[in-house]
């Protein structure tokens, strides 16, 4: 039993590293193989995750609209998304004749690569992280900004006015909402004093920031959720692909697997955003701890850290999915007003408040 408890992901990784080093005795080759293993395990995690999120989205939509949702393929409709994927795989991947073919085929790849790179510093469980670099959250916000170029590229190269309009809308939206996301991340960095993901999680050992940080952190949590919903182009901020106005926005011309890649990126982004919100504000893999309540904290530690992380992440995903069926889509002017006249000034003042709080030590 004790042995089982001691096995963690990092010990497994160390064991693989040791056995590979003994076997091959070549540093370069060992590192290369380990990178391939890490990438493969990320893929093995992400594809079922996207299947699950697709299923979850339909079920949540059905739940919000008091209907059953998918219920024919597989038990409770759970294989519906597999059927959809097979359909997408068998479809013809069309490339419009007038399009810029090189960029048209490159765009979905860039979008997917950008959101996969963002997964690197996310701490999935205790000692389970691909890359714990010193600039964790800055890395995330910088690399995620590559994704918008994929969207702009898709809109331009399709040679379709709907695509171009969708791409422009999405570009304006992502660039402006990035500011609010950044400022609300900064408020946690100010409190923690570090941008390293593991430090941010460890700083919440005696309570999550959303409880320790009083009202300012609560405000920045709400701003983060709103702004990041806008950043990943989800309803009610899905102007970039507003069906009624722009058919499907920037991916109007995409079909088959290329379209599936945009879908994949959308779901991975949803997961990443929720994971970051869970890490920054809700403690990541840290169990629910209250100050010095030793016994209570010990009881909470019995649940594995990965379950805590995934539970928090999926709770936030559930909230973001509910937005889709709760609010009507914003107009472009309303969208920009919301960011520039409300969210940005509020988050700027909020960062000042958090800074004062951190300097005076008013948080717990």
């Amino acid at each position: 039993m004790n042995l089982l408890l001691n096995i963690s992901f990092s010990s497994l990784a160390r064991w693989i590293d040791l056995s590979l080093t003994n076997l091959l005795n070549n540093y370069m080759l060992v590192k290369a193989i380990e990178m391939v293993i890490a990438g493969l395990s990320l893929l093995v995690f992400l594809v079922p995750l996207c299947f699950f999120l697709g299923y979850m989205e339909r079920k949540v939509a059905a739940f919000m609209q008091i209907r059953l949702g998918p219920n024919r393929v597989g038990p409770k409709g759970s294989l519906q998304i597999v059927a959809d994927t097979v359909k997408l795989l068998l479809k013809e991947g069309l490339t419009p004749n007038a399009s810029d073919k090189f960029l048209f085929n490159l765009a979905p790849v860039i979008v997917v690569i950008a959101c996969m790179l963002v997964m690197a510093p996310i701490a999935f469980a205790k000692d389970f992280q691909l890359w714990d670099l010193s600039i964790g959250v800055l890395y995330i916000s910088s690399v995620s900004s590559i994704g918008v170029i994929g969207i702009l590229m898709a809109g331009w190269s399709s040679y379709n006015k709907y695509s171009l309009l969708g791409a422009m809308r999405s570009g304006a939206q992502i660039v402006s909402y990035e500011l609010s996301v950044g400022l609300s991340i900064i408020s946690i960095v100010v409190l923690t004093g570090s941008m390293r993901m593991s430090d941010i999680v460890l700083s919440q050992e005696n309570g999550w920031w959303i409880f320790k940080g009083h009202i300012p952190v609560l405000i920045s949590f709400i701003i983060f959720i709103i702004a990041s919903t806008a950043e990943i182009n989800r309803a009610p901020f899905d102007l970039a692909e507003a069906e009624q106005e722009l058919t499907a926005g920037f991916h109007t011309e995409y079909s088959g697997m290329k379209f599936a890649m945009f879908l994949l990126a959308e779901y991975i982004n949803l997961f990443v955003v929720s994971a970051i919100a869970a890490t920054l504000f809700l403690g990541g893999w840290m169990p629910f701890h209250i100050g010095h309540w030793e016994a209570f904290n010990h009881v909470m530690d019995f649940l594995p850290s990965s379950i805590w992380f995934l539970g928090k992440t999926f709770a936030i995903i559930f909230i973001i999915m509910q937005f889709r069926w709760t609010f009507p889509r914003l107009r472009v002017d309303q969208l920009l007003n919301l960011e520039w006249k409300y969210l940005l000034p509020i988050s700027m003042v909020n960062v000042l408040l958090v800074t004062i709080m951190a300097i005076m030590g008013w948080h717990f």
Binding site: M28, D100, L133, L138, S145, I146, I149, W156, S157, G171
Partner: protein, 200 residues
Amino acid sequence: MNASTIIFYILAATIISGALLAVTSRKIFRSAVFLLFSLIGIAGLYFFIDYEFIAAVQIIVYVGGIIVLIIFSVFLTHGSGEDMKRPTIGRAAFAALAAIFGGVLTMFLISQHTFFPSGKTGIEPSPENIGSQMLSTTEHGYILPFEVVSMLLLAAMIGCIVIAIKIKVPPHKILPETDEDGIEIFDQKQTTLENKQIQL
């Protein structure tokens, strides 16, 4: 040849080929995309030498900012979808000559220069060190340039707002009531002119 050399050459090839394609491509949007690859390659080079902070800033500023700005201006430019005109042979020849001369000069200077390893031990480029160095008022502190750049950015921001702002003039000021003659019409012209100046 070990792994780090291979990675370095891959990065270098990305940067140089991206830059070359950005200059030679005849589609303006493709040029922007190739420039993007070149800039990402430079960020990769920073990651390669463990300057993670600089790498992230490189991506935020150049990829998330400059390239998006370039792409937006391409979107808003008339006729940017067509191929650009092929440059004349004379111009192309001179451009090639200038590029080759610059390259050779740089190579020559680098090969002539002997690099001495500095005796000082390096400081770890962690965000904490960079931040405290940036804001320190002691020797080698960067607080003055930091503040000067901040003032410059503030001035630029205010300039942007002044250019973009629209002062709403109430309609009765633009169009005065026209129950009288001659002079009123002149006034009207003048006020619209003033209004335009305010808008500009």
